[in-house]
C-alpha cells in the first residue's frame, strides 16, 4: 500500500462538461444549468452502465453499504465481552458461521461490525484528504504566481514524505485512536489530489469562456464556485473514489501496526488481533480470512469504479 495512488490521469482537456447544442429554448439560466446537468448526468450514467467493471464495483459496494447499515441497526450484544459465551478459537459451525476468536467472540459479528468502522474511517479520511488536496490544488492553480510556487513546493514535499513512516510517528505522538487514524490518513494522502486538481484548474483557467467571465468582472469566489469547481469536479470525484480505496488500505495497515483504537472493531483491527493471537501458527484461517476478504472486496470495488470513471473521463482509452 505504499504505492502512490494510480490517478485517473488522462488528458485534462478532454474532460469536463460538453455543452449540448440543443438549448435553443429560452429559459432562465438556472433552468438551463439544471437541464444541462441532468442531461450530463444521464449521459454519464448511460456510459457508466456499459462498464461491467464499474457495475460490479457498484454492486459490491452496495452490498457492503447494506452490511454497514445493518451493523449500525443490529444489536451489538455479540461484541459485549461480558456476554461472550462462545468457545475460544472454535472453527466455523452453525452457531458461529465464521468461527470464534481466542476470546470466544464470533468472527462473523466482528466482521459485520467492522464494516461500519472501516467504511467510516475510509470515507471520512478521504473527504479530509480530498478537501485539503482540492483546496491546495484550486488555490495554486487559480491564483498562480507565488501562491502556486509555494503551494506546489509544499505539495512536492508532501509527495516525498514516506506516509507510513510519518503516520507512525504522528500516531505515536497523538496516541492510538480512530481520530488519529483519520487525521493521519487525511494529512498524508492529499498531495496526489492537489497536483491533479491544479493541472485541471490550469487548463480550465485558460478556457475562453472562463477568461471572458473574468474579463466581465467575476470575483475570485464567483469564478471558483461557478466556473472552476464545476469543471474540476469530475476529476476530483474520480480521484476521490481511488483515494477512498487507498484510505481503507491505509486504515488497515495502521490498525495492523497497533495504531488503531483497540476498543472498536475495524477489519484491520481484527487482522491485528488475529496476528497477535497467533492465528497463523494455530491455523485459525477463519479468523484471518474473512476480514481480509472484505477489505479486498471493498477496495476492489472502489478501484473498479475508479477505473470505470476514468474510462469515461479519459475517453482515449476507449478507442482501441
Amino acid at each position: 500500500m505504499q504505492t502512490p495512488p494510480i490517478t485517473p490521469g488522462g488528458d485534462p482537456n478532454l474532460t469536463g462538461e460538453r455543452i449540448p447544442d440543443s438549448l435553443a429554448e429560452v429559459r432562465s439560466p438556472r433552468q438551463i444549468r439544471r437541464a444541462r446537468r441532468r442531461r450530463a448526468l444521464s449521459t454519464f450514467w448511460a456510459q457508466y452502465r456499459k462498464s461491467k467493471m464499474g457495475m460490479a464495483g457498484l454492486i459490491i459496494l452496495a452490498f457492503f453499504a447494506a452490511v454497514a447499515i445493518f451493523a449500525v441497526l443490529a444489536s451489538k450484544d455479540g461484541l459485549d465481552p461480558t456476554l461472550v459465551e462462545g468457545p475460544r478459537l472454535a472453527s466455523p459451525s452453525t452457531t458461529y458461521p465464521l468461527g470464534t476468536d481466542s476470546f470466544g467472540v464470533s468472527v462473523l459479528t466482528q466482521v459485520i461490525q467492522g464494516s461500519k468502522i472501516s467504511l467510516l474511517v475510509g470515507l471520512v479520511a478521504s473527504v479530509m484528504s480530498i478537501a485539503i488536496g482540492a483546496l491546495v490544488g484550486i488555490v495554486a492553480g487559480y491564483r498562480g504566481g507565488t501562491y502556486d510556487t509555494l503551494l506546489m513546493r509544499f505539495t512536492d514535499f508532501g509527495l516525498v514524505v514516506p506516509w507510513l513512516a510519518l503516520a507512525i510517528i504522528l500516531a505515536s505522538i497523538i496516541g492510538p485512536s480512530l481520530i488519529t487514524i483519520i487525521l493521519v490518513i487525511g494529512l498524508t494522502s492529499w498531495p496526489g489530489t492537489a497536483r491533479l486538481v491544479r493541472s485541471q484548474v490550469l487548463s480550465v483557467r485558460e478556457r475562453p469562456y472562463v477568461e471572458r467571465a473574468r474579463a466581465l468582472g467575476g470575483g475570485n469566489w464567483h469564478m471558483i464556485a461557478h466556473h472552476v469547481l464545476p469543471n474540476v469536479m469530475p476529476v476530483i470525484l474520480a480521484n476521490a473514489v481511488l483515494v477512498v480505496a487507498i484510505a481503507i488500505l491505509s486504515e488497515t495497515a495502521l490498525s495492523f501496526l497497533g495504531l488503531g483504537d483497540p476498543f472498536s472493531f475495524s477489519w484491520g483491527g481484527i487482522i491485528e488481533s488475529a496476528f497477535n493471537g497467533h492465528a497463523t501458527t494455530l491455523g485459525a484461517w477463519w479468523w484471518i480470512g474473512p476480514p481480509g476478504i472484505c477489505i479486498v472486496l471493498v477496495v476492489l470495488a472502489f478501484t473498479m469504479i475508479g477505473f470505470a470513471l476514468d474510462e469515461i473521463i479519459n475517453p482515449k482509452l476507449r478507442e482501441r
Binding site: I6, A165, S172, L257, G292
Partner: protein, 328 residues
C-alpha cells in the same frame, strides 16, 4: 534549458526538499507532549537526582535554546550524518550504525521482490495490453486488481497459513535460524529459505501495480498517432509492438518503479512485521513499540531521503530518455 541545467536544477530541488525534510524532522520531534528528558527519566526518576537530570539534558543538548542553539546543532549533526543515539532499542548506539546493520536484509528482501515483480509485471502488462480484452488480459487484470486491493501483510499471513502452518515447507519468520545454527552454504540456504515467503509476499504485492501501470502506459502509447500511422503503413504487429510501443511505454513504467522503490522502507514495514524479518521495517516497528524517538526520527529521515533520491533518479531517467521534459 540544456541537459546540464536540467540536471542541476533537479539536484538543487532535491537538495531543497531534503533540507525541508530535515527542518520538518526537527520540529516534528519537538512537538512531543513533554520534555524528552522527562519522558526518559520518569519512573526511573526516583533514581535520578537533579544533577543527573541536568547531565542527561546537556547530553541531548536540551539545555540550549530551541533556536538557534538546538536547531543549529541538529542541522549540523544531521548534515554531518550524525543522527544521534538510540535510547531504548540499542541504548547508546549510533542510529546510523544501527541502520547500517539493518539496511542490508531490507535491501535484499525488497531488491529481490522488486526485481521479480518488475520482470513479471512488465511482461504480463505488455502481453495483456497488446491483446487487450483477450482471455489473458481479463484474467491477469482481475488477478492484478485483487493483488492491488490486498493488504500485503494479510497476504503474508495467508501465505504463512498455507506454506508454513499447513504444508510446513518454509519457516514463517525470522531472517535466518536463531543462533546461527548453520555455516557456509547451509547458512546461505537457510537465509534464502527464510527469505522465500516475505519475498513472495512483496513480489505479489508489487506485481499488481507494475502490471497495471505497464498495461495502461502501453495502451496510451498504442493510442498515439504514430502507432496508428505505423500500423496503417502495414508494419507487422509485433514489430510495432517491439520497436515502438514497448520502448515508449517502458519509460513511465521504469520511472514509476524507481519512484516506488523509494517507498521500499514503508512497504516493507508491515511485511517485515508479519515475518519477524529483522530489517529496517522491523526496526521501525520495534522503535515504534518502544517509542525510541531518536531512532524513529532517523527512520523518518532515511525514508524521506530515499524517496527524494529515487525521485531524482526518476527525473534524471525521464530527462535523459525524453528530451521534451528537459525543455519544459
Amino acid at each position: 534549458m540544456g541537459t546540464r541545467g536540467y540536471i542541476l536544477k533537479k539536484m538543487f530541488q532535491a537538495f531543497l526538499t531534503l533540507l525541508a525534510v530535515i527542518v520538518f524532522n526537527f520540529f516534528l520531534f519537538r512537538i512531543l507532549p513533554a520534555d524528552p528528558v522527562d519522558i526518559l527519566t520518569r519512573g526511573a526518576g526516583a533514581k535520578l537526582d537533579d544533577a543527573e537530570k541536568a547531565e542527561l539534558r546537556a547530553s541531548y543538548g536540551l539545555d540550549k535554546s530551541l533556536f538557534p542553539g538546538q536547531f543549529m546543532d541538529f542541522m549540523g549533526d544531521t548534515l554531518r550524518g550524525d543522527l544521534g543515539q538510540s535510547i531504548i532499542q540499542r541504548p547508546g548506539q549510533d542510529v546510523t550504525a544501527i541502520f547500517g546493520e539493518f539496511m542490508w536484509p531490507t535491501l535484499l528482501l525488497v531488491g529481490v521482490s522488486t526485481l521479480l515483480s518488475t520482470v513479471l509485471g512488465i511482461f504480463m502488462g505488455i502481453y495483456a495490453g497488446w491483446r487487450r480484452n483477450g482471455t489473458f488480459d481479463m484474467f491477469s487484470m482481475g488477478f492484478s486488481l485483487v493483488l492491488y486491493s490486498m493488504p500485503e501483510f494479510w497476504l503474508g499471513m495467508l501465505l504463512i497459513l498455507l506454506f508454513s502452518t499447513t504444508l510446513g515447507w518454509f519457516p514463517s519468520s525470522g531472517r535466518a535460524s536463531v543462533g546461527g545454527a548453520y555455516t557456509g552454504l547451509a547458512a546461505v540456504a537457510d537465509i534464502v529459505n527464510h527469505l522465500f515467503l516475505p519475498a513472495l509476499t512483496l513480489t505479489l504485492a508489487y506485481l499488481g501495480e507494475y502490471y497495471l501501470v505497464m498495461r495502461s502506459s502501453l495502451l496510451d502509447v498504442l493510442g498515439e498517432d504514430y502507432i496508428t500511422t505505423a500500423r496503417a503503413k502495414g508494419v507487422r504487429e509485433k514489430w510495432v509492438l517491439r520497436r515502438h510501443a514497448v520502448r515508449n511505454a517502458l519509460l513511465p513504467t521504469i520511472t514509476l518503479i524507481a519512484l516506488s522503490f523509494g517507498f521500499v522502507l514503508g512497504g516493507a514495514i508491515t511485511v517485515e512485521v508479519v515475518f519477524s524479518y529483522k530489517g529496517l521495517g522491523g526496526l521501525t516497528y520495534d522503535a515504534l513499540q518502544n517509542r525510541d524517538f531518536p531512532l524513529l526520527q532517523g527512520v523518518f529521515l532515511i525514508a524521506s531521503a530515499t524517496v527524494i533520491g529515487m525521485n531524482l533518479i526518476a527525473d534524471l531517467i525521464y530527462g535523459y530518455f525524453d528530451p521534451r521534459v528537459r525543455e519544459a
